[in-house]
């Protein structure tokens, strides 16, 4: 049985700044990282491998340099890494992305049964949380989102029971395999690559699948197959609040203004 883990290379958003003039993301020089939620997805895949001996395949759609993300997964112990890379896939929204990913998973399932697909709950660049459910829809399998604990998996009866982390409560649900999980960070603590594994992953082959392999209709994927268009990125206007004094140059004066303001509004008792 295969476990497929979907990973994405994302810009390190803590290092992304927004150009105050053009209101666009300054992407230059921003390093790429593995989407943090996906590191938990990989870990869970590896735990299933440790427990049941499943083979783990890491899947990523992206430009050729996204290979680094897959190598990281290889260094942690995934058995196979496949990069879905084709100019035709470029510019995709969540719909087009989930089409490509689900086609790749279906393609894998031709050779060996795919029991579990694991995705991070969302990516930190797009923040839509739509791709995981989109894949499940296209694979016609159950989707269990926001998983923070895998309670039980029984391959003999082909069932999985997980706990979902919802607002203010938890929910325990069960589903038949195959299943797609999207996972939150509380699920597990990712492992760290050993040096021998890192070195091995540097030499390991990352398979690249383009659209010749997937044979998807070019009009249904990439930019052409994406109904969502980003028209503008901007920082929200500050609705409330004001900057008091110049804290960087004269912190004492700024503190004084702050205190007098707070006294004025009766927020401080003297």
């Amino acid at each position: 049985m295969l476990v497929v883990v979907c990973v994405k290379q994302v810009p390190d958003t803590t290092q992304v700044q927004i150009d105050p003039v053009t209101n666009t993301l300054i992407r230059e020089g921003v390093p790429f990282i593995v989407n943090p939620y996906d590191t938990h997805a990989v870990e869970e895949g590896l735990r299933l491998k440790d427990r049941f001996g499943f083979k783990v395949v890491a899947l990523s759609m992206g430009p050729p340099n996204a290979e680094a993300t897959l190598r990281k997964a290889l260094s942690l112990g995934v058995d196979r890494a496949i990069l879905l890379s084709d100019r035709a896939f470029g510019g995709a929204d969540t719909l087009a992305t989930s089409k490509v990913l689900s086609a790749a998973i279906a393609r894998l399932a031709k050779d060996e049964e795919v029991g579990v697909v694991i995705c991070g709950k969302q990516t930190i660049d797009g923040d839509t949380a739509q791709v995981g459910p989109g894949i499940a829809t296209r694979l016609h399998c159950s989707q269990l989102t926001l998983v923070d604990r895998v309670e039980d998996l029984d391959p003999s009866v082909r069932k999985i029971r997980v706990r979902r982390k919802l607002e203010g409560r938890h929910e325990e649900v069960e589903a038949p395999l195959p299943v797609l999980l999207t996972v939150v960070r509380e699920l597990n603590r990712p492992r760290y690559p050993s040096v021998p594994m890192r070195l091995a992953s540097e030499e390991a082959a990352v398979e690249v699948w383009d659209n010749k392999v997937l044979e998807l209709d070019p009009n249904g994927i990439g930019l052409k197959g994406s109904p969502t268009w980003v028209s503008r990125i901007f920082s929200p206007e500050r609705a409330k609040g004001e900057i008091l004094g110049d804290g960087a140059r004269d912190p004492e004066a700024a503190a004084e203004i702050l205190i007098s303001k707070m006294l004025e509004k009766d927020l401080l008792a003297l």
Binding site: T14, Q15, Q17, Y192, S194, V195, R198, L199, E203
Partner: protein
């Protein structure tokens, strides 16, 4: 005249054979260790050996050490007497009587006096172990070692008693022409009966006592901690000449193993170290982890490695798997992971060991195994490692924020030819809000003295200190190579560091990467600026009150910088700092070194609490430090102890304060 030598000869041969076989067995196990160059620079090594083995510089640092010095030198002198005893026991005509009369008498006089001194020293040793036993002689793990010590002490005492009995007997019989050269033996002779038959029996008894104790000693020696008699002197010769004791680089390639997970992965010198330990407990007494109830005891680490080698040595020699794990659950011959992670790498053990055993580097080697081969480490470190790899700082803050502290002043970017010094701010000085104040203070002082300096700004990267001490050599190696390349590219040759950890890494560790920089710690440079009259401090009344100075381990012990920070404070305030009970090379760690800054302390007392309590007992108004980690640990410790009124200042902040116009 020598009785029963027909019986003595086979006994001697058997004992020597047993001794030789035992020593060979132990020494042959050293060959299992990895190669390490320790035979270079013979003259420097000879000097170390003379200073530490023969003059026992470290031994005599504790009051009872003098006692050991007496025993050591007596032992050397009496080796001649015992050598003669054994030779003439086999061939009676071969003895010191063959030497010129004067030499012979001088030797007898020396033996006589030295034997008495030894007897006194042994009595003192026994008294110490019985009545004024220091706590560091005990450990929770090492059992029965004191029995060992008492056995050896009684062997030596018996040897001396037998020596006097034997010679007293001879003299009393009136047939020793050299009696005048042996005042102590003559005194003993005076107490003996005059009956010749009894005297002959007395002589015979003590001769055999001497013979049997000597042979028993010989047989016992290689099987006890007293093996150090054979190994301590060579151990001092073979000691590391590198100070600070920097970890060696590793080669990263397929098929390599990293660090030490099995006893034969240690170097042969590491293994020899364990034979040289006589369990004196000084490392244990100096160790901040041990002192605060952590599972680490440097003496136990050394002992466990020795036990492990003796247990597994034969199996490993035969190519079989070891039966006792080197790292694993608590047990004889095994180090626990908790112990290995408790080390602050403060170097107090290295400083304390009388025979220059290198405890801390062994711990780092085992950390390397855990991190690099096993990827197993305390969970707090995962974030640290990821942050270092992704954002080149321990907190994972965006590198673009490195130069945020600059917002309050004009700071140049380092340009070769334009600026003399690179101010390597370091991660704490760039991101930690308290340390940033120190950075600003330093920048102000440098500007006031007219120093030409610049920074790398957002291009600066972490030096990797914590990674190296934590055993993540793979990542450290990568970061060090990047930094070395960056420094070369920018033409950096002279560096000022704010932090002693950056100092040691840039100055000592990067040398292994082919980069020789002139690196100064800010306190050294500021001390020089003050001495050269480059800084005019209008303000002398700083309101800091009584100032104590805490020596940061990586500034003091690791880099020998003790005076500069003290001079800085003295010049800026007009009075010398008040010394803490443990200061300079005996300073007690703040608890943050060796990557412990990024880890929790789950067991025992917090190291910073112990240090703060020690400081508070001196009633300081201000504690001065010269390291951002010490700053954090001291401030936190003071808050926890409800002593928030005591200020913590970096030494350069004291100077910056003095710069403010009146």
């Amino acid at each position: 005249m020598i009785p029963h030598y027909t019986l003595f000869t086979p006994l001697l041969i058997a004992s020597l054979a047993f001794f030789g076989w035992s020593v060979y067995r132990r020494f042959s196990l050293l060959a299992l260790g990895q190669p390490e160059q320790r035979l270079d620079r013979p003259f420097d090594r000879l000097k170390e050996m003379l200073l530490y083995a023969f003059a026992q510089m470290r031994v005599v640092k504790k009051p009872f050490g003098f006692n050991h010095l007496v025993i050591f030198w007596s032992f050397l002198i009496l080796m001649l007497a015992n050598g003669e005893f054994m030779v003439s026991g086999v061939i009676p005509s071969l003895n010191f009587g063959l030497l010129p009369e004067g030499v012979h008498r001088a030797l007898l006089l020396a033996f006589d006096i030295v034997s008495l001194l030894t007897l006194v020293a042994i009595a003192v040793s026994v008294g110490r172990r019985l009545f004024v036993r220091p706590s560091y002689l005990d450990t929770a793990y090492v059992k029965g070692i004191s029995a060992d010590a008492f056995l050896i002490l009684s062997f030596i005492a018996l040897l001396m008693v037998a020596y006097f009995g034997m010679h007293g007997g001879l003299i009393a019989q009136g047939n020793d022409p050299a009696a005048a050269a042996m005042p102590v033996s003559s005194f003993v002779a005076g107490m003996l009966p005059s009956d010749p038959a009894t005297l002959s029996a007395i002589f015979g008894f003590f001769w055999w006592l001497h013979a049997l104790v000597l042979l028993a000693f010989l047989c016992f020696l290689p099987h006890s901690k007293h093996m150090h008699i054979l190994t301590a002197i060579p151990n001092c010769y073979l000691a590391s000449l590198e100070w600070p004791n920097t970890q060696p680089r590793e080669k990263f390639a397929k098929g390599e193993v990293y660090g030490v997970g099995r006893v034969d992965r240690f170097s042969w010198k590491d293994l020899l170290d364990t034979y040289s330990c006589t369990e004196c407990g000084r490392c244990q007494a100096a160790c901040p982890a041990t002192a605060t109830g952590k599972p680490l005891n440097p003496r136990q680490i050394v002992h466990a490695i020795k036990t492990n080698l003796l247990e597994n040595g034969l199996a490993i020699k035969e190519g079989k798997a070891p039966t006792v794990p080197l790292i694993g659950p608590e047990g004889e011959g095994t180090n626990t992971e908790d112990a290995i992670w408790s080390c602050t790498t403060c170097g107090a053990c290295l400083q304390a060991c009388p025979v220059l055993i290198e405890q801390m580097p062994k711990i780092i080697k085992m950390r390397r195994h855990l991190v690099e081969n096993e990827a197993r480490f305390p969970e707090e470190l995962l974030n640290l490692f990821e942050n270092m790899e992704q954002r080149s700082n321990p907190w994972g803050i965006a590198p673009a924020e490195r130069s945020k502290w600059v917002s309050t002043m004009q700071v140049k970017t380092f340009e070769k030819g334009e600026t003399e010094y690179l101010l390597y701010v370091g991660c704490a000085g760039s991101f930690d809000s308290r340390a940033k104040q120190v950075t600003v203070a330093l920048a102000t002082v440098l500007n006031a003295a007219g120093v030409s300096w610049g920074i790398l700004g957002k291009d600066e990267k972490c030096c990797g200190d914590s990674l190296r001490r934590l055993g993540n050599e793979y990542l450290f190696d990568k970061m060090a190579r990047e930094n070395v390349e960056l420094f070369r590219e920018r033409g950096v040759t002279k560096v000022i560091t704010l932090c002693p950890h950056c100092l040691t890494t840039l100055k000592n560790d990067y040398r292994q990467f082919g980069l020789e920089l002139e690196v100064v710690h800010q306190s050294e440079l500021v001390a020089k600026l003050l001495a050269d009259g480059k800084l005019n401090l209008p303000r002398k009344e700083l309101g800091l009150g009584k100032i104590s100075y805490h020596d940061p381990c990586y500034l003091g012990r690791h880099n020998g910088i003790y005076d500069a920070p003290r001079e800085v404070v003295a010049k800026a305030t007009g009075s010398a700092v008040q010394e803490l009970p443990r200061h300079r090379e005996n300073s007690f760690c703040c608890g943050a070194g060796g990557g412990r800054m990024w880890m929790e302390e789950f067991t025992g007392e917090r190291v910073n609490h112990a240090r703060v309590e020690e400081a508070l007992a001196e009633n300081p108004d201000t504690i001065c430090v010269a390291c951002p980690y010490c700053m954090t640990m001291m401030e936190d410790g003071l808050k926890d102890k409800g002593a928030g009124q005591v200020r913590v200042r970096d030494v350069v902040e004291v100077v910056a304060e003095g710069l403010r116009p009146l």
